[in-house]
């Protein structure tokens, strides 16, 4: 029982991280209709920025805020300077630019701060004694912090999309860019804000996960998280916020349970098995669990 609770908690924590990054992917998809392959590496890069600031004796919280700002600026700049010009040509070009960013940002981080593993301090209490006991299992402060961050973020995003003018405009652009533009929405600014927002969310995911990740902050840290997050976003249907959250947590828990209880899978096949399950789900529901089906015409 204790072991079960422990695995469940670990799964929930990992799942919350996947959900955070999946939210970033969904925001981009809603704005631009593409999967941002570079989202994980963007988060990695901003996390390196945060780590670098902490080595300059900046307090963790300041470093995190700075990382969020860098993420926002980078995301917006990428949309404006790299994505928009090629998007007019075709969709494949967008994916290839994103692949270029994927390799480029990763290597740039390695070039600026070398490839050794870094220790990113956690913004939450995570000493050996900072835990609460749940059903016999220990729940540490930074895991609770990730859950809290996810909940706050989901509330804020829901408020943004449902209650503010910018959110309304973002939904309008997602639904129909041309009609939105005709109705007076400044489409290009909304797209930039969308990408910027996703850059900032990705940065948040990065700085929160690295203290928890087994390999700390290295050049490959975000890779697995990005794959799980894109699976989570697709699972939920790519354009649904609650779908991303449900997808992320499902994948986190599935991973923890499969690697814990199915001995053939063990610690080595968890990515494979999680992805296989998602492919199977897509087979039954091709637009994800919460996605809207799109009709097409000749």
């Amino acid at each position: 029982m204790e072991l079960f609770v422990e695995r469940l908690l670990a799964g929930l924590t990992n799942g919350s991280v996947y959900a955070l990054l999946a939210l970033a992917l969904v925001v981009v998809y809603r704005a631009t209709g593409t999967l941002n392959f570079a989202q994980g590496e963007l988060a990695l890069f901003t996390t390196f920025v945060a780590w670098w600031l902490t080595t300059l004796d900046a307090p963790v919280w300041i470093a995190i805020v700075a990382a969020l700002i860098v993420g926002f600026v980078l995301g917006a700049a990428i949309e404006r300077l790299l994505i928009r010009p090629v998007q007019r040509k075709n969709d494949m070009a967008v994916l290839i630019v994103a692949l270029g960013l994927f390799t480029g940002l990763n290597s740039l981080a390695g070039l600026l701060w070398n490839s050794e593993t870094k220790i990113m301090p956690s913004p939450f209490p995570n000493g050996l004694e900072d835990y609460v006991s749940v059903g016999g299992a220990r729940l540490y402060g930074d895991a609770l912090g990730v859950w809290g961050a996810l909940i706050v973020l989901v509330v804020l995003m829901t408020l943004l999309f449902r209650r503010t003018r910018i959110g309304l405009h973002m939904r309008a652009v997602a639904a129909n860019p041309e009609s939105a533009a005709l109705a007076g929405v400044r489409t290009s600014r909304i797209l930039m804000i969308g990408w910027g927002l996703s850059g900032a969310i990705g940065a948040l995911a990065g700085v929160l996960v690295t203290p928890l990740a087994p390999e700390q902050l290295g050049l490959t840290t975000m890779f697995h998280i990005f794959i799980a997050a894109s699976a989570a976003a697709l699972f939920g249907g790519l354009d649904s916020l609650q779908g991303a959250v449900v997808g992320g947590i499902t994948i986190g828990v599935l991973e923890a349970m499969l690697s814990g209880y199915v001995s053939f899978i063990g610690g080595e096949l968890q990515q494979t098995s999680a992805l296989l399950i998602i492919v199977a789900i897509l087979f039954i529901r091709p637009n994800g669990l919460f996605g809207t089906a799109r009709t097409v015409r000749v």
Binding site: K89, M92, I96, N106, A231, Q271, L282, P286
Partner: protein
């Protein structure tokens, strides 16, 4: 991905605007072709006389080119972005490796089996396209790319697991009928890869020009219109994935015979897929010679950049080159060369209307 690609310019410039017009099948056309073949053969001969290090580099170019030709069929001609081709490459490589090491197969005899297995894997990857479209299909290929190294690590008894697998060089010696001794494996692999590359290029050329090739391009250019005109969209995609997988798997089999040592994290991760995509885009998507040019670029660019810098910078350059290409030369090197040549020479089929005017 049902996306339109940076298609090679389809509009032929009118025959009158270019300086020379060559009719397909005429003696000039045949002569030029023969000259091209002679030049290529001479270049190969010259390359085979270089130092064994250079010969090895050329061998890896050829193997890479074969792998990229496989990718070109799916991504270039059918418009489905695959980031899973590292798995086909890896499955081909490991099939050959395992058969040689565990069952003492002759290296060449492993090739058909490697191609068969990668063909089946291709069908399996393509199978979801019955239901899944667009980005979702790219995720399936991503899943395959991520799963492959994990599965190799898991099947330790067969593959040597994370520690990797070494194929002893006595197994990889050139076959006796070549008259080459074991130490001449480099030159044997050079000619073998060159020969296979030529075969694969001819096969791809024939496939693209066939009825099936037309179906592939129709699916790429307009999936719904293709379906409306009676093209079995899902069937086409599944079959293309199979054929493409088999070709990339063939490249993997040659890779094992060339390199002799395999490890799951060495050449078979997602990064290999990105390398293949980079090579394809750089060389020219949906072109005949693009994969070869792209293979030269991805083998030699990191080699030359790493000679004056260290590791990560070549990754930055790779990324920057990939992005710059999308802006400056979306048709790739081969595509751009084709456009340049077309401003000077036009090749027309004998029944082209422009010829009748004269």
């Amino acid at each position: 991905m049902t996306t339109t690609l940076p298609a090679p310019a389809k509009t032929r410039p009118a025959a009158a605007t270019t300086r020379f017009t060559i009719v397909e099948g005429s003696w000039e056309h045949r002569g030029l072709r023969a000259a091209g073949i002679v030049v290529a053969a001479l270049a190969l001969l010259a390359a085979s006389q270089l130092t064994s290090f250079r010969v090895g580099q050329f061998t890896s170019v050829f193997i890479m080119a074969i792998a990229i030709i496989g990718l070109n069929l799916v991504t270039g001609y059918t418009g489905l972005l695959s980031i899973g081709h590292s798995a086909f490459f890896g499955l081909g490589a490991y099939t050959t490796g395992v058969l040689i090491v565990q069952l003492e197969f002759a290296p060449l005899a492993t090739i058909p089996i490697a191609m068969l297995l990668t063909f089946v894997l291709g069908l399996l990857v393509g199978l979801p396209s019955l239901r899944i479209h667009g980005l979702y299909l790219a995720l399936v290929t991503l899943a395959v790319a991520v799963a492959f190294p994990e599965i190799v690590r898991r099947l330790e008894g067969l593959t040597g697991g994370a520690a990797g697998m070494v194929v002893r060089s006595r197994y990889l010696a050139p076959p006796e009928w070549t008259g080459l001794v074991r130490a001449q494996r480099g030159i044997w692999m050079f000619w073998l890869s060159a020969f296979v590359l030529v075969l694969v290029m001819l096969f791809a050329r024939g496939l693209i020009r066939s009825r099936f090739g037309l179906m592939m391009r129709t699916v790429r250019d307009h999936e719904i219109a293709a379906a409306a005109s009676g093209v079995g969209v899902a069937r086409t995609k599944i079959l293309v994935f199979g054929v493409s997988g088999a070709i990339t798997g063939l490249a993997g089999a040659l890779f094992t015979m060339y390199i002799g040592a395999l490890s799951p994290d060495g050449s078979f991760t997602l990064l290999k897929s990105i390398e293949l995509v980079t090579g394809l885009v750089l060389g020219g998507v949906a072109t005949q010679f693009g994969p070869l040019i792209g293979a030269f670029a991805v083998v030699f660019l990191p080699y030359y950049t790493s000679s004056f810098t260290t590791g990560p910078l070549s990754g930055v350059l790779f990324g920057a080159v990939l992005i710059a290409l999308c802006f400056l030369m979306p048709e790739g090197i081969a595509g751009r060369l084709g456009l340049l040549i077309r401003t000077v020479v036009t090749v027309l089929p004998p029944d082209h209307p422009a010829l009748r005017e004269r």
